[in-house]
Structure formats: C-alpha cells, structure tokens
C-alpha cells in the first residue's frame, strides 16, 4: 500500500513543476543535481553513461534496460557489459546501436 502511494505522488511530480525545481532554478543549481531526471551521456558508440537512474531491469549482452523516474531507458547493441555500477551512475560499454525510452 505504501509503495503505491509513493508512486502516485511521483507521477504528479512528473507533470507539474515542483517547488524543488523552482528553487533550484532560482539558485542556478544544475538540473541533474537538483532533480531526479536521468542524464544520459554517450561517448562515441562504445560507451553510455547514465546518471540518476533507479535500477536495472534487465541486463544481457544485447539489451540493457534501466529504470528511471521518467521511464525505462532501453539500450540495445552487442557485447554489452557494465563497466561500473554505483547507486548514482552506471557505465555501459559495448557496440551500442540504440538508446530508447520505451
């Protein structure tokens, strides 16, 4: 029950501009620090760097699905590996073909 409640609140957050975001905009704090929006950086076709993620849903050599507050990020490719994973960021290396929000 509790969990459901939480999720409900987050969904509201997505649509409207929260107070937190307003404050951070006022103080000119970078977005990725203040908000929970994921930041995805790719370096060439070999490396993808995802910040502000929630957890991984699936991890194989061909597909990595990462859950975030703004939907599931799906990265497809070949020979993919997770080079490093911490609670804040995840680095995926391999022959990347596609990055999607599905």
């Amino acid at each position: 029950m509790k969990r459901k409640k939480k999720q409900g609140r987050r969904k509201e957050k997505k649509d409207s501009v929260t107070i937190k975001e307003k404050v951070s905009k006022l103080l000119e704090i970078p977005d990725e620090v203040a908000t929970d929006r994921p930041k995805i950086t790719t370096m060439g076709r070999k490396e993808v760097f995802v910040e502000n993620y929630k957890g991984i849903i699936e991890f194989t050599n061909e597909i990595v699905r990462i859950n975030s507050n703004h939907g599931v990020i799906t990265i497809t490719g070949h020979n993919m590996k997770i080079k490093e994973i911490t609670c804040d960021d995840i680095i995926i290396v391999g022959d990347i073909e596609n990055i999607d929000y599905i």
Binding site: I56, I82, I85, T86
Partner: protein, 397 residues
Amino acid sequence: MLLIRLWHYLKGYVIIIVTGIYAERFINICTRRQILLWDMERLDQRTVRMKMSIRGFKASRTAARKSRCRVRIEAKKGFPYLISRYKKRKGFLAGVVVFAVIIYAMTSIIWYIEITGNNKVGTDVLINQINEMGIYRGAAKRFINPKLVADTLMLKNSELSWVGVEVKGTGLYITVKEGIEPPAIVPYDEPCNVVAKTDGMIISIHAKNGLEMVRKGDTVTKGQVLISGNLESFYPEFGEKQVHAMGEVIARTWYEIKKEIPGKRVTRVRTGKEFNKYSIYFLDFLIPLPSGENPFELFETVTYDKTPVIGNRFRLPFGLTVQNFFEVEEQVTELSSEEARELAQAAAVRELNARIPEDAEVVDQQMQITKENRKEYITVIMECVEDIAMEQEFGGN
C-alpha cells in the same frame, strides 16, 4: 583508470559468478547498499560475472538471499590475498629477508681496491699504508673517510703530489699523481773532499770543482782523497780556501771471491708422502679448517688456491686454500771434480755479481783454482770500470 584499478588491487577484490533468474535484482540491491560493482558481463541466461570489493562481498550475502541467487567466488585477486598466501610460506619469507640482508651486507663492504698512477711508490707500499688505517678488502664502506685517507697518504708519501680517493659502488679507487722531484741542490757552501769509494786504478779524473790530487794511472786505496776541497794558495800569506769538491773519477776496480769447491752435494728429495691442510678464504680473510698437524720433520710447502671460476675469467672472491706439505729427505751425492768446479764457479759468480755496484761495468773475469790442505778452492776475480768518486766532509772518515 589505472589509478582506480590499482586502488582495487590494493584493497583486494573478488570475481564472483551470480546464478539466478533475478540477477538484476541482486545488482540493484547491491548498488543501493553502496557496494561498488564493476566489469559486469552476462555469461548466459542465468549467470552474470562481476567484480566486487572484499567488504562488498561480505555485505552482499543478504542481497543474494533476497534475490534468490547463488553467489560463487571464481577468483580472489589483490594485495590482501597475496599477503595471506605468503603468510603461510614462512620459509619463503625468511628467504626474502635473508636475501635482502645479504645483499645489503655484501654491498656495504669494499670488494676491491684499485690504485692507479703510481710509478715510483710501490702499490704494495700504498696498500700497506691504507691497511694500517683499517681499510682492506672486506672493510665496511661507511667507515672510510676518503678525505682522511687521501690526506694520510699525502703525508706519508712525499713523492705524491695529489691523491684522489673515491668509493664507487663496492670498489675503492685511489688515483695518485706523482710530482717531479726537484733536482738536488748542490750545497756549494759546504766544503768537502772527493774520496775513493773502493780501491782501484785511475783511468780518468775530471774535477768539476777542487784540486785533483791523483793522476791517470795511479792506484788508489779506499778512502784516499782524489779531489781536494782545500785549496792552498801558492802564496802562503793569502791563506787557503775551502770549496765543495766535485768530480768524476773513473777507475778500474777488482772484485775477488774465494770459495771452497765442495766434494759432495746435498739435495733435498721429496719422499712422496704428502699432507694437505685446508682453509677457506673469503677476500683476504683466512679461516682454517680442522685438518690435523703437519707430521713431517723435514718438509716443503706449496700453497695454492682452489677458486670457483665462472666462465674463463671471473674468479669468485672466496674459495679453498690448500697448503701442501711434502716430506723431503736429504740425499748426499758425490760429485765429479768437473761438476764440482762448475757448480762452485756459478755460485761464486752469482755472489760476486750481488756485490758489484749496479753502475759498474764488468770488463774482465778471471778464474783460478788452488789446492790447500787437500781441499780445492776457486778464486774468481772480476775487473770493472766504475766511478769511484764519493763526497766526504772534512775530518770525517
């Protein structure tokens, strides 16, 4: 990246294989618990391989239970594991320590001493002098004060004009420069005579200073004044003047020796029995090994080293010294008269040559054999040409 890898190595990590349908769940729980995972790869549908720190591995137990995964360690890597492995190998560790100690000890002593640049001063003289200072092969390097050694050598040897002492690696290099000695100053203000060194017959006399007292063809005896430094004036009222007499007096001299011709010869012959005494040497130190006492009364000894040699040239600085004792006995042999004469002559000539001064030139040699009281005697006379001038102060003998 290298730094991170090094950090992981120092802290130690494990390579684990996670088996289970919910491997992703395991990863999520781990990351949420601040456990760092890296180099993760999917092996097949059910297994994932990853690396994890040691601390993280302990904390991931509950994560494995929650996600119903089986975690298996494939390999343990890093420094802590390396240490724990070597903790068991005590002998190896001791060997490492002993090796380090030996290397340190061996490199802190002098292994060889090299002296260059000396022509007039003998190397053995210099070596003796530095030995007195406590410097020898095997001496501790840090007790050597190069400046002190150089100063001491300079003070002890007036022939040296510069000494450089350098400890380079395990060698002691002494470089020496010898000065040119100043020519001897003739003390003109010290009056003296020139007298004869030995008996002889004058061939030529040439006075550089003073008055010639003898002439060519005169025979002189030892100590006779040849060139006088006392100049008497023709007129006695002017008094006399004393000078430093100098000159060259070449004379014919004779040296004679008389020896008995022996009828027998005593030779020492080895009996064939021998006895060895062993000792170990290291650099210049000798450690005798227990090998008993020498049992012979009359013996000769031969000493030689048995050194391990690497290749053709490199001799190790330690080895075995063998002292070989050979028993000898005296054998008396009768000599024929010819043999005896030859032997006696050779011995006499050898003895005479030692007596004749180096600058003398031998011009003639005579030999005479006489008989007295049933014994034969050989007389060898050598005729030489040499400078017999010798300066002598007035009044002295």
